[in-house]
């Protein structure tokens, strides 16, 4: 109570606090609204809602285009996660432990997909695939685009994990006669595991939500969930879209919580 009086008496501090709270509300509001809208029983998005119902989830799960897109997104995101984790970890290992000349150039190169506008990369790949005859009939091109974009996240997270482990542990193992592969498998990998898992989690989430690359590189008749949602929203705002969104929000939340259980998200450091 005393603190409250204090705050009100100091208008500057009061105003500051009000702005901070308002911005937090602003940040979370649209996401909360989407979740609430998906539970609305009415035909259209009405406010206040006309009761609670799961009918829009039913409409999502019985919609063939949305389910196909959902499955494809899961498949692409899982593949990106595995590829980015393998490539990003090996690149980080080389960068932190062995790179001598051109270290900055190497770092810039690996981070380039993150620094360049995604839409420009998508355009570049679209032209390139056409010219080398890869085209967009298969999902190979789309998948490569997703791996390119997600790679820097694993690289950054594994690099910071590598910088934080004590190299004398590896030296000790070596001096006791362990070969390179044994040192990596028994010492380095367990120590950088949190970094690898965190990076892989980011790769999965980023790939699942990736838009521009998927928009331009999707084949005919195949599409990922964000694109399907985008096409749907251009004509129709019914709460099926909200149910689809909520399912992907909950899925992201699950991925984050699983990662937190595995490694503790305090390990997130880029």
């Amino acid at each position: 109570m005393k603190a409250l009086v204090e705050v009100i008496r100091d208008p500057l501090r009061f105003g500051f606090g009000a702005v901070v709270i308002a911005v937090y509300v602003f940040l979370l509001l649209p996401i909360a609204i989407v979740v609430l809208a998906s539970l609305n029983a009415g035909e259209y998005l009405t406010f206040p809602p006309q009761g609670i119902s799961l009918r829009w989830y039913g409409s999502f799960f019985s919609s063939q285009p949305f389910m196909d897109a959902f499955k494809l997104s899961l498949q692409v995101a899982a593949t990106s996660m595995v590829c980015a984790a393998a490539l990003g970890t090996s690149a980080a290992l080389y960068y932190v432990r062995f790179a001598r000349g051109g270290k900055e150039a190497l770092r810039f190169m690996v981070l380039a997909p993150l620094l360049l506008p995604e839409i420009l990369t998508a355009i570049a790949l679209l032209f390139f695939y056409y010219q080398i005859g890869l085209g967009t009939r298969t999902l190979v091109g789309l998948q490569i685009g997703h791996v390119l974009i997600t790679l820097p996240f694993v690289f950054l997270s594994v690099c910071s994990a590598l910088y934080n482990i004590n190299p004398s542990l590896e030296e000790a193992a070596r001096s006791l006669g362990a070969g390179s592969w044994t040192v990596f498998r028994r010492i380095t990998l367990p120590l950088i595991k949190p970094g690898v898992i965190t990076g892989a989690m980011f790769a999965f989430i980023i790939s699942f939500d990736l838009f521009s690359i998927s928009l331009l590189l999707k084949g005919i008749g195949t599409t990922t969930l964000p694109i399907q949602l985008f096409d749907y929203l251009r004509w129709d705002y019914d709460p099926t879209a909200a149910a689809v969104s909520t399912v992907s929000i909950v899925m992201t939340l699950c991925v984050v919580l699983i990662t937190d259980r595995l490694v503790g998200l305090r390990a997130v450091r880029f």
Partner: protein, 301 residues
């Protein structure tokens, strides 16, 4: 330590040095190949594509021409879209800075037990796809969205207030989408300012606003610079939000480029437009970085 790191994966037998080096290169080779083949070459290819002859029957016709650039730089439709893209980018960066600064300051200085939760609240929009976040704003701003329904329910309005399908809606959603990219670098910059400096200035009798303008603001300039550049670059090339909340009424360069590629199938024109947008964005950033660097030197500690 450097020597230790060198021997970590080094040869067990001295004669194996060459083999060990080859093995190390195998670690990086796949990534280098991937980036060179699927990033460097495609980007060089855009430049070539932008001077090809457009064709309606194939992605391009034989021969080369500067026409794509000439047309883009003389047509008021394209120039208007370019100006709009840059203006939207700059305005988004500005509003993100104004809204993000108080939150970043609070986040950097608070000792609250739920600080982790506040960080999660700032980060959480990043983990939700941009389509979903834009959709949230559609629900709120649409003609029969939450705001208009509430106002009509209260009897304040008869016909809906137009809150989207215009620049206002696009800007609002863009600020929301990119705000975390402003708050994170700002928080980092403010965290690295010694709180004792503020305490010292306060104890010497400086009023709060003065402590802010003379100490906190100048010392957080690096964070302001990187945050505004990041948001500007992202907002200039944003496609989803202008498309969904602009509904075709807000033509930016990014929406025009995709339209040229997907609907009109004029790849060389799209390539030229995309390059013009990137160059204009890069020039703006370079000029801005120059100007802010000068301000930083002037305000510097």
């Amino acid at each position: 330590m450097a020597a230790g790191a060198l021997t970590t994966f080094g040869p067990a037998v001295p004669g194996d040095a060459a083999r060990a080096r080859a093995l190390r290169l195998l670690l990086i080779a796949p990534v280098v190949v991937l980036i060179v083949v699927f990033l460097v070459l495609p980007y060089l290819n855009i430049v070539v594509m932008s001077i090809r002859v457009p064709s309606t029957r194939a992605p391009y016709a034989p021969g080369f021409t500067p026409d794509n650039y000439l047309r883009a730089l003389t047509d008021s439709l394209y120039l208007g879209a370019l100006a709009r893209s840059l203006a939207i980018g700059a305005a988004t960066a500005f509003f993100c800075l104004v809204l993000g600064y108080p939150v970043a300051y609070h986040l950097a200085r608070t000792n609250a037990r739920f600080k982790g939760l506040l960080f999660a609240a700032v980060l959480s929009p990043l983990l939700v796809g941009v389509v979903i976040r834009s959709y949230g704003w559609i629900i709120i701003l649409a003609n029969n969205g939450i705001i208009n329904q509430t106002l009509r329910g209260l009897g304040w309005i008869d016909s809906p207030v137009r809150l989207m399908y215009n620049e206002f809606g696009v800007m609002l959603a863009l600020v929301h989408v990119f705000l975390p990219f402003m708050i994170l670098p700002l928080t980092g910059a403010i965290q690295s300012i010694d709180p004792n400096l503020e305490a010292a200035a306060r104890s010497l009798g400086a009023p709060r606003w003065r402590v802010f303008t003379r100490i906190v603001l100048p010392l957080s300039m690096p964070g302001i610079q990187s945050g505004t550049i990041l948001v500007f670059v992202l907002a200039v090339s944003a496609y989803v939000t202008p498309m969904l909340l602009g509904g075709g009424n807000v033509q930016t360069m990014a929406t025009l480029v995709v339209q040229q590629l997907v609907d009109a199938f004029l790849w060389p024109v799209g390539a030229a437009l995309a390059l013009i947008l990137s160059l204009a964005g890069a020039c703006s950033v370079a000029i801005y970085a120059r100007l802010t660097a000068r301000t930083m030197r002037r305000l510097g500690p």
